[in-house]
């Protein structure tokens, strides 16, 4: 029992460390934000905002939202040329200097386009625009809420993947420990170790499953590829992970009472093997191309 207690304590102490996100070095990036308005002071939605870093030549683009607000996070500190353009307005270009870790507000009031002189050269030469290509508006418009949904989904599935890998270690250890737990001449210490490892595996598995089940679904997405096999395996190892400890507890009691494991409890081993096999196959389906 001491061994079981020690391992459970170790697991409890290690768990927060294992599941916590690795601490990433926080880059001292800057943020540029502001509001784009028309000459009448009205907000201009879907205005294109581009910040070009003068040192690297790299541009970062975004669009204003419905209230004319834009935000460009994670910019490197330095001198920028900020260009704001929108259909029906003259493009406005402004300089901006960003310092590390600050949020610079740069509002842009757009002016009406300059009137063409009657005798000016023909302005018929126009570069093709995205509107010329005839994509449905729904395909070309930015959708911040869907991006947030995707970000949350990826975060949760990364945790699911990480926890799944961590769960593999006690799972293997539990299977190995079972070799000394079920035989005729096994000691109670071996059974306790098997139970402790099985308990830890079950806890970690529950956390792994939580992240997969709670990861948001993306509407309109048809499931294709290896993920279908991965999900099919979950229908085997999921119930198996519930059934195995129940049967194990029954077998443990029978064994502790000096009885030979009998009845439904004797299915503990085969169910555990099928469960572990399905878990391993699910892991491999996402890791290696069959």
């Amino acid at each position: 029992m001491k061994a079981r207690g020690a391992i459970l304590c170790l697991g409890i102490f290690l768990l927060p460390l294992l599941i916590s996100e690795p601490l990433r070095a926080q880059a001292a990036d800057a943020t540029l934000s502001g509001t784009v308005t028309s000459p009448s002071g009205a907000a201009v939605p879907n205005a294109r905002v581009s910040a070009r870093n003068l040192a690297t030549g790299q541009s970062t683009d975004t669009q204003t939202n419905a209230t004319g607000v834009y935000t460009l996070p994670n910019l490197l500190p330095g001198d920028y040329e900020v260009s704001v353009s929108a259909d029906g307005f003259a493009t406005k270009v402004s300089p901006a200097t960003l310092t590390a870790g600050t949020n610079l507000t740069l509002n842009a009031g757009l002016a009406a386009p300059p009137a063409e002189l009657p005798n000016a050269p023909s302005s018929s030469r126009t570069e093709p625009s995205l509107q010329d290509l005839g994509f449905p508006a729904a395909e070309t418009q930015s959708d911040a809420s869907k991006q947030a949904l995707l970000d949350k989904r990826t975060h949760m599935l990364k945790m699911h993947q990480r926890m799944g890998l961590i769960t593999t270690l006690p799972l293997i250890a539990t299977v190995v420990a079972s070799l000394g737990a079920g035989g005729r001449d096994t000691s109670s210490a071996s059974r306790d170790l098997h139970v402790a490892l099985g308990g830890l595996t079950g806890d970690l598995y529950a956390i792994t499953a939580y992240y997969a089940i709670r990861a948001p679904r993306v509407p309109g997405t048809e499931t294709r590829g290896p993920i279908r096999f991965h999900k099919a395996m979950a229908w085997i190892h999921g119930p198996g992970m519930i059934l195995t400890p129940i049967l194990g507890a029954m077998a443990f009691d029978q064994k502790s009472n000096g009885q030979k494991v009998h009845g439904i409890a004797s299915a503990h081993g085969p169910v555990a093997i099928v469960t572990a096999g399905a878990f391993g196959a699910a892991l491999l389906s996402m890791s290696v191309k069959f």
Binding site: S50, R52, G57, Q58, S59, T60, D61, T62, N74, S124, R125, T126, E127, P128, S129, L130, D132, L133, G134, F135, E139, T140, Q141, S142, D143, A144, K146, Q147, L149, L150, D151, R153, T154, L157, Q161, L165, V218, T221, E222, T223, R224, G225, P226, I227, H230, M286, S287, V288, K289
Partner: protein
Amino acid sequence: MKKNILIALALLLPTLALADGQWVLEECTLTYHVSHPLHQTEGVSHAARGKGTCHAGQCDFLIAVPVKSFDSGDSNRDLHMLQVTRGAEFPMVTVRTHLPESSATSGTLNVDLEIQFAGQTAQYKQVPFKLETRGGETHITGTIPATLSDFRIDPPSLLTMPVKNEIPVRVEMTWRPQ
């Protein structure tokens, strides 16, 4: 004298008409390639649309493709790709280039490209493309040497191993004059 002027005009008119012509992207297949220690993955899109407008012998081309149209055969991977490239926030990849119209006859084309993707703009200089004209259509093939860092995309990882920075994009296009 009048006859000579008329002949000259008759010869020039088709040239002028062509000079202000347009090109339309008839077919396009774009294929990105991602390398991971455990996987080699390709995502394909046939959803690109494009247009070229020519004036005075100079042409501006625009090609655009929805990020979500790339299909790798794995919906989970495609959604992850959409997330890391901020494809919902910036749903389109656009490629712009400017060419002299006379280049439409040469066999190899070195093109300067401006690509907007994932909220970033990257320039690629002198990217070689093969060009073949058949039956009034122009077929163009080549590979854009794109990288994740060009667009400030964090390399996605599987089993804690990140993918390679290089994501070459194979381009196969058929253009026809309009």
